[in-house]
C-alpha cells in the first residue's frame, strides 16, 4: 500500500482583480496627472505588503486609461508583486464610454473566473464624459461581475461630474472628493486598500430582496474614508 497523499486536484488562491481606470484627458494635464502618477506608484509597496499578508488571495492589477479613446496600459492582469506603474500623460477628450466598453469585455466569464473575489474598480476623473457613456455603463452593470464589483470613484477638482461618478459607483459615499494634490494622494491611497477589505474569506449574507443575489456588494468602507478636514489645504483645482 503506497504513501497516501492529499487527495485532489490543483489548489489555488482566489484571484482578486483590481483595476485603476484613469482619466487622461487634456484637463488632467500638469499637476493632476503628475499627482496620480506619483500617488499610484507609491501605493504599490503597501499593496504588495497587504497581499503578502493574505496568501489566500491572488491580487492582480491592471490599468485602463481613457482620453480620446481608451486603451489598456497593462494588456493582461499582472500579479501585484510584478506590477510597475508607467507614468501616464494627459491629452485629448474624455471618452469614458469607451473605457466602460473595454472594462466590460474583461469582466465577463471568462476571462474572469466565477470563483474570483469581487473585483475592485477605481475610477479617477476630473471632467465630464465627451462620449455616450450611458449605454456602455448600463452594459457593464448588467454583467454578473459588473454588478458584484466594488466600485470606487475619485472626483478630481471642482469640474468633475459627480453625478456620472455616482452612476458608476451606485453609492454617493464611494465618490471621493479630491480638490487638491494632498487630497488626491490620500484618496488614491485609501482606494488602494479596498483590495484587502474584499480579500477576506468571510461571507456576507445576500440581500434576499434582490433576485438571486443580484444586488451590488456592500462593502462597509464608509467609516474609514479619510476626512477632507484632516487633509492640509493646497491649491484648489
Amino acid at each position: 500500500m503506497g504513501e497516501m497523499k492529499r487527495p485532489g486536484g490543483e489548489l489555488a488562491s482566489r484571484p482578486l482583480h483590481f483595476f485603476w481606470i484613469v482619466d487622461c484627458s487634456g484637463s488632467m494635464y500638469g499637476e493632476k496627472i503628475g499627482t496620480v502618477n506619483h500617488a499610484i506608484q507609491s501605493t504599490i509597496p503597501e499593496m504588495v505588503s497587504a497581499a503578502e499578508n493574505n496568501p489566500n488571495a491572488q491580487l492582480m492589477i491592471r490599468t485602463l486609461k481613457f482620453s480620446t479613446g481608451a486603451s489598456w496600459v497593462t494588456s493582461n492582469p499582472v500579479n501585484v508583486e510584478d506590477f510597475a506603474w508607467d507614468d501616464l500623460e494627459a491629452v485629448g477628450v474624455t471618452d469614458l464610454g469607451k473605457a466602460f466598453e473595454l472594462l466590460a469585455a474583461q469582466l465577463t466569464i471568462p476571462p474572469m473566473s466565477d470563483r474570483a473575489l469581487p473585483p475592485v474598480l477605481v475610477l479617477l476623473s476630473d471632467g465630464q464624459p465627451t462620449d455616450d457613456y450611458k449605454k456602455a455603463l448600463s452594459e457593464l452593470k448588467k454583467l454578473p461581475w459588473g454588478k458584484k464589483a466594488v466600485k470606487i470613484a475619485i472626483s478630481i477638482g471642482q469640474d468633475a461630474d459627480d453625478a456620472v461618478l455616482e452612476e458608476f459607483t451606485g453609492n454617493k459615499e464611494l465618490v471621493l472628493q479630491a480638490n487638491n494634490a494632498a487630497a488626491l494622494t490620500k484618496m488614491i491611497k485609501w482606494a488602494s486598500t479596498a483590495a484587502s477589505l474584499v480579500s477576506a474569506p468571510a461571507s456576507i449574507a445576500a440581500d434576499t430582496a434582490g433576485q438571486d443575489g443580484d444586488a451590488p456588494v456592500i462593502v462597509d468602507m464608509g467609516g474609514r474614508i479619510p476626512d477632507l478636514d484632516d487633509i492640509q489645504d493646497g491649491d484648489v483645482w
Binding site: M1, M4, R6, P7, G8, G9, E10, L11, A12, S13, R14, N53, N54, P55, N56, A57, S113, D114, R115, A116, L117, P118, P144, W145, K148, V198, A200, P201, A202, S203, I204, A205, A206, D207, T208, D212, G213, V217, D220
Partner: protein, 284 residues
C-alpha cells in the same frame, strides 16, 4: 451494505492568521433504523457576525433534530415520509428549520444577556440579532429508500460512484463572497430541497460528501474540485475509512493553506459491500 460516516472541520488559514475561531460546524446522527442525518453549516465569520460559530452550531443541531423527529414519527412508513418530504420539503420543512433556528438564536442571545438592538421606534430589532449569528446550512438524510437533501446558502452536496461525480442538489451560486443565510427574514424561501428514491440494486461503493464552500473555493476550478471528490472516493475504496478519516483533518488544513484560506468542513457517508477497516491508518 455497510455505511460509514465521518468528517472533520478545520480552522481556515486566514482565520488562523487573525486568531478567529473556525466558524463551521458539522453534525451526524445515526438512527436505530439505520437512517443517517448529516449536516454542515458555515458561519459567515465577518465582523458583522461575531457569533456565527454559535449560529452554525445551532443550524446543524436544528436540522438533525427536526429531521430526526420526522424519521421517528414516520418510522416504518418510509413511503409516506418520502411523499411528505417531496411535497413539503422546500416549504413546510424549510419554514420549520428557519423558525426553529431563529427561536433558538433569540433564546441563546437572551440567555447570554447580550444586548438586543432596537430599531428607530425603540422596538427590539430581532433581525439585527439574527444577523450577529449568520450561517448557511447543508443537510442530507439517507435512508434505505430515499435521499432528502437541503441547502440554504453556499457549499456542496455531492454523490460519487463509479460512474462519476454529480451534485445531489443544485443551489444558487452567488458570485464573490455573498451567500444566502438563515439570518435573513424568510430565509426559507431561498432554501432548495431534493427528495429522490434510491436506485434498486445500486452498485456500491457510493460516497456522499457535504462540504462548506471553503473546500470548493480552494480548487482552481470546478473540474479540479470534482477530481478531488473522485480521489477521496478512490482512497476510501483502496485504503478504507479509518485511513482516510485519520488523515482528513491534515488534508483539509493543507487544502485551506494552499487554497482560499477559509474554514473547511467535509462530512462523508460511504456505503460499500464491505468497509475496509484495516490498512494504513497509522501516521494520521
Amino acid at each position: 451494505m455497510i455505511r460509514s460516516v465521518f468528517g472533520a472541520s478545520v480552522q481556515g488559514a486566514s482565520h488562523i492568521r487573525i486568531g478567529r475561531e473556525c466558524q463551521d460546524s458539522l453534525k451526524k446522527e445515526v438512527k436505530d433504523s439505520g437512517a443517517v442525518i448529516l449536516s454542515v453549516a458555515d458561519g459567515h465569520g465577518s465582523d458583522a457576525c461575531p457569533y456565527s460559530k454559535t449560529g452554525s452550531l445551532t443550524a446543524v443541531n436544528v436540522f438533525c433534530r427536526i429531521m430526526g423527529d420526522y424519521l421517528d414519527t414516520y418510522a416504518g412508513r418510509q413511503e409516506m415520509l418520502f411523499t411528505f418530504l417531496t411535497r413539503e420539503g422546500d416549504t413546510k420543512i424549510a419554514r420549520e428549520i428557519d423558525a426553529e433556528w431563529k427561536r433558538r438564536i433569540l433564546k441563546l442571545h437572551t440567555r447570554c444577556r447580550r444586548s438586543i438592538p432596537v430599531d428607530e421606534n425603540q422596538n427590539k430589532d430581532r433581525e439585527a440579532v439574527y444577523k450577529l449569528y449568520g450561517s448557511t446550512l447543508l443537510g442530507l438524510v439517507i435512508t434505505e429508500e430515499f435521499l432528502f437533501a437541503f441547502q440554504l446558502g453556499d457549499g456542496d452536496i455531492v454523490k460519487v460512484s463509479e460512474s462519476g461525480v454529480y451534485s445531489v442538489i443544485e443551489a444558487d451560486k452567488i458570485l464573490g463572497t455573498e451567500t444566502h443565510s438563515l439570518s435573513k427574514a424568510e430565509s426559507w424561501k431561498k432554501a432548495v430541497t431534493l427528495t429522490r428514491k434510491r436506485e434498486e440494486n445500486e452498485r456500491l461503493p457510493v460516497m456522499y460528501m457535504l462540504s462548506s464552500d471553503g473546500m470548493s473555493n480552494s480548487y482552481k476550478n470546478e473540474e479540479e474540485f470534482q477530481k478531488t471528490c473522485m480521489d477521496y472516493y478512490a482512497l476510501l475504496a483502496e485504503h478504507g475509512v479509518k485511513a482516510v478519516s485519520g488523515r482528513l483533518k491534515a488534508w483539509l488544513q493543507e487544502t485551506s493553506e494552499m487554497g482560499c484560506g477559509d474554514d473547511i468542513t467535509a462530512l462523508f457517508a460511504y456505503e460499500a459491500e464491505q468497509i475496509l477497516q484495516s490498512g494504513s491508518s497509522e501516521g494520521a
